[in-house]
């Protein structure tokens, strides 16, 4: 499939792919190497040839003036749902995302090597963001029989998960972890006890009680985390806990890491900004899985992200109007977020006075390390996946401003600060906002 990609790239991009690029006068922020300084970048053959000084004999085919811009690694997203592959991958690069993991709850689910190969091939031919599929842990995500993890890995899967589907039978979960540990595969779980969360649509707290919505208690998360941690200890599997939503959940993971367990976790960007109060009068745009919880839970998630315990992801889920124009409990959870990941991360950093170097780590090198992929860093010799953004440019979130087919977000109408100007994947300009504007 690599060869397919190269061929197609050459066809569609022509000489562009071979162009040497000089990115000059930008503020380079590379969290992995703790770099935050004025540095030029020199790209040769799709790779970072040099940082700072031009390599010998370098002749720029194209020079990008990054004055006033931040130059950082292309963002790495831990969870992006692709409704239509092409529009969502275009949205990804418009949001500065150059690598993303796709959860297995596609239709049909990613439990067959053929499906995974097709997804990898289709996304590679587009030459936009790199797609890393997460395979189904169990067949049909039914939580009963193990999926063919080895074959799925050969087809391109980098981890296994149930997405939002439960494994009700703890013995199946134990076996799945044992099997995955055998091959050193990573298991990602979205921790929520199926029975405790049954019929729930919102955080079991003041707002749900007032609005008469069925609640999902915090213990639905903590019970599932405790189970997962115990089984991970017993099996030695590499475990990633996805989409934590509560202070108590964060505390359990922090404690487990202190005791030496190599568990990782993430939070969705919405959960750093919103709480149950944002449901307002039944606003289905504020319906999420896991639910938005209390203000103090949100503060704990922010703290977890600030200290580096949790990575941050978009949890991008395109939902069309039909899925949202329903009574709250019947509406589909989730929101479009690829193009909001960066500005919302900047907003969080500004509000909590987090250095950009740390804030950007949560959406670049940290998720790359969790996924075990060579991305999220600007190092000499690595593929030139780069995001150039204006950290202060204001823009308003409108359906027209979003390239994703998902137009539903609780942030519609908001003013954002920070906008991606140019995105490069393997040294090719795959998104350029100035170019788009003049079209």
């Amino acid at each position: 499939m690599e060869s397919t990609k190269t061929t197609k790239t050459t066809e569609t991009m022509g000489k562009m792919a071979q162009q040497n690029i000089h990115i000059r006068n930008g503020r380079l922020i590379d969290p992995k190497s703790s770099t935050d300084a004025q540095r030029d970048l020199f790209i040769v053959d799709g790779h970072i040839a040099a940082i700072g000084e031009a390599p010998a004999g370098f002749v720029a085919g194209r020079t990008i003036d990054a004055s006033g811009l931040i130059v950082c690694p292309g963002l790495v997203d831990l969870s992006t749902r692709l409704a239509g592959i092409e529009p969502e991958l275009a949205a990804a690069v418009a949001g500065g995302v150059t690598a993303l993991a796709c959860p297995p709850d596609t239709n049909p689910p990613l439990d067959e090597p053929g499906l995974v190969e097709r997804l990898v091939r289709r996304s590679a031919t587009l030459g936009l963001a790199q797609v890393y599929p997460i395979g189904a842990l169990t067949r049909q995500l039914a939580g009963e029989k193990l999926a063919e993890m080895h074959s799925l890995t050969r087809a391109g899967c980098i981890a296994f998960s149930q997405a939002k589907h439960p494994i009700v039978d703890s013995q199946v979960l134990l076996r799945a972890m044992q099997y995955a540990a055998n091959f050193n595969y990573t298991i990602r779980l979205q921790p929520q006890d199926h029975n405790l969360a049954r019929d729930g649509v919102a955080h079991d707290g003041e707002v749900a009680s007032r609005l008469g919505l069925t609640g999902i208690p915090v213990c639905a998360e903590t019970v599932a985390i405790a189970t997962a941690l115990q089984l991970a200890r017993a099996t030695g599997v590499r475990l990633h806990l996805a989409r934590l939503s509560s202070a108590a959940g964060v505390a359990l993971v922090r404690e487990a890491r202190r005791s030496g367990l190599a568990v990782t976790c993430d939070v969705a960007i919405h959960h750093l900004h919103l709480s149950e109060m944002d449901i307002g009068y039944f606003d289905s745009h504020a319906r999420f899985d896991p639910p938005l919880r209390s203000g103090s839970d949100r503060d704990a998630l922010r703290a977890a992200a600030a200290e580096g315990l949790a990575a941050v992801c978009s949890d991008h889920t395109p939902v069309d109007a039909d899925g949202k124009q329903l009574p709250f409990a019947e509406a589909q959870p989730g929101a479009t977020a690829l193009e909001l990941l960066l500005p919302l991360t900047l907003k969080w950093a500004a509000e909590d006075k987090i250095p950009l170097l740390s804030a950007l780590a949560r959406i670049t090198c940290d998720p790359a390390a969790i996924l075990g992929i060579n991305a999220g860093a600007i190092t000499q010799g690595s593929p030139a996946d780069i995001c150039l953004f204006d950290p202060v440019e204001p823009w308003q979130v409108t359906p027209q401003a979003l390239r994703s087919e998902g137009k539903n977000t609780p942030f519609i109408g908001y003013e954002m600060a920070g906008r991606v100007r140019t995105t490069l994947v393997s040294g090719r300009v795959v998104f350029d906002s100035t170019g788009v504007k003049t079209e």
Partner: protein, 332 residues
């Protein structure tokens, strides 16, 4: 509803959708968020209508030429009938739609149904829906489609609200007790699943009731119910003691035997209102129930038929209150 965490929201679902820019009632969706003056105005208007029901000709022409659509996505003969009577006494044309058996069965969405009815020149929707918040979705949709002239009355949505029931309960309390300030009111039973309880709690706190008690086992009380301004009592006797008003709630059959409660018998033993328990309340305490009652489950027949019960007057007042709500929404 407390303010959302961001002040930036442009979404109408973050403003109180029941009131127009002048603070007037355009829909009745919930008692939560309505100012005391509006509640009092509805109750005062209802007392004027009570007299209409005693006349030989039980009609006033306030809604003549208007079409009221009873749109019930969930069955309820009783509530629908009282709305129908109220609308007819205001001289409105009443159209009853039992949507559970028609359009939705054919896959039509809630808002498609609404659009169709608006095209039939509906002036008012009386909506019952099994999902909490459905009437808000309808009101929001009418606003977005420029139909602010069409009004929505929530006739019960999921567990959320049943505002006309809350208002008729307040009417009943005011009728027998005059003033809310010093009243102790106990709401007893399945508060978790009860839209009536939520509406009563909001109405009582807005009208300044002295003390509101939520009485029931923990399995039937909503999380953080105390944040709604009630005192929680798990013991019935403690909850009833020295009360002026006892509001009993219906226990649905499907909740009687399972993980919420062991049995109807045990529930009656612990939370059933018997003459002995009622004797702990003030001697002049009144007993209310939104109906339909489960005799021998939440209430003893002797209490239900006894001198302190005001359950049938509640029904009579209910018509006057619904007339008041519809006439105020129609601009009278």
């Amino acid at each position: 509803m407390p303010d959302s965490t961001y002040s930036q929201h442009r979404n109408p679902l973050h403003k109180n959708p029941q009131l127009n820019v002048h603070g007037e009632l355009t829909h009745l969706l919930s008692i939560d968020g309505l100012p005391r003056e509006i509640l009092t105005h509805i109750l005062d208007t209802a007392s004027n209508f009570l007299e209409v029901s005693d006349r030989d000709v039980k009609k006033v022409p306030l809604l003549r030429g208007k079409s009221v659509f009873n749109v019930f996505f969930e069955n309820s003969t009783r509530t629908r009938t009282t709305f129908e009577i109220a609308a007819k006494r205001l001289s409105a044309d009443v159209i009853n739609l039992d949507v559970t058996r028609s359009s939705t069965a054919k896959g039509e969405t809630l808002l498609d149904t609404v659009d169709n009815l608006v095209a039939m020149h509906a002036d008012m929707f009386v909506v019952r829906h099994a999902s909490s918040g459905a009437p808000y979705l309808i009101a929001d949709h009418l606003h977005r489609t420029g139909r602010d002239d069409v009004h929505v009355v929530n006739a019960g949505d999921g567990r959320h609200a049943h505002p006309t029931q809350g208002l008729l309960d307040m009417y009943t309390i005011r009728h027998y007790k005059r003033d809310f300030a010093n009243l102790r009111v106990a709401i007893v039973g399945d508060i978790l699943h009860s839209r009536v309880a939520r509406s009563d709690i909001h109405a009582l706190s807005t009208l300044g009731a002295g003390e509101i008690r939520a009485v029931g086992p923990q399995t039937l009380l909503p999380t953080a119910v105390e944040r709604m301004g009630v005192r929680v009592c798990h013991d019935l006797r403690e909850g009833i003691r020295d009360c002026d008003v006892v509001i009993m709630l219906r226990l649905q059959n499907e909740r009687m035997n399972g993980a919420l409660l062991p049995s109807a018998r045990e529930y009656f033993n612990c939370y059933g209102l018997t003459p002995e328990v009622l004797a702990l309340a003030r001697p002049d305490a009144i007993v209310m129930h939104p109906g339909p009652m489960n005799r021998g489950v939440e209430i003893d027949s002797e209490v239900a038929d006894g001198p302190q019960a005001v359950i049938l007057p509640q029904v009579t007042f209910g018509i006057a209150v619904r007339m008041a709500v519809m006439s105020i929404l129609a601009g009278n």
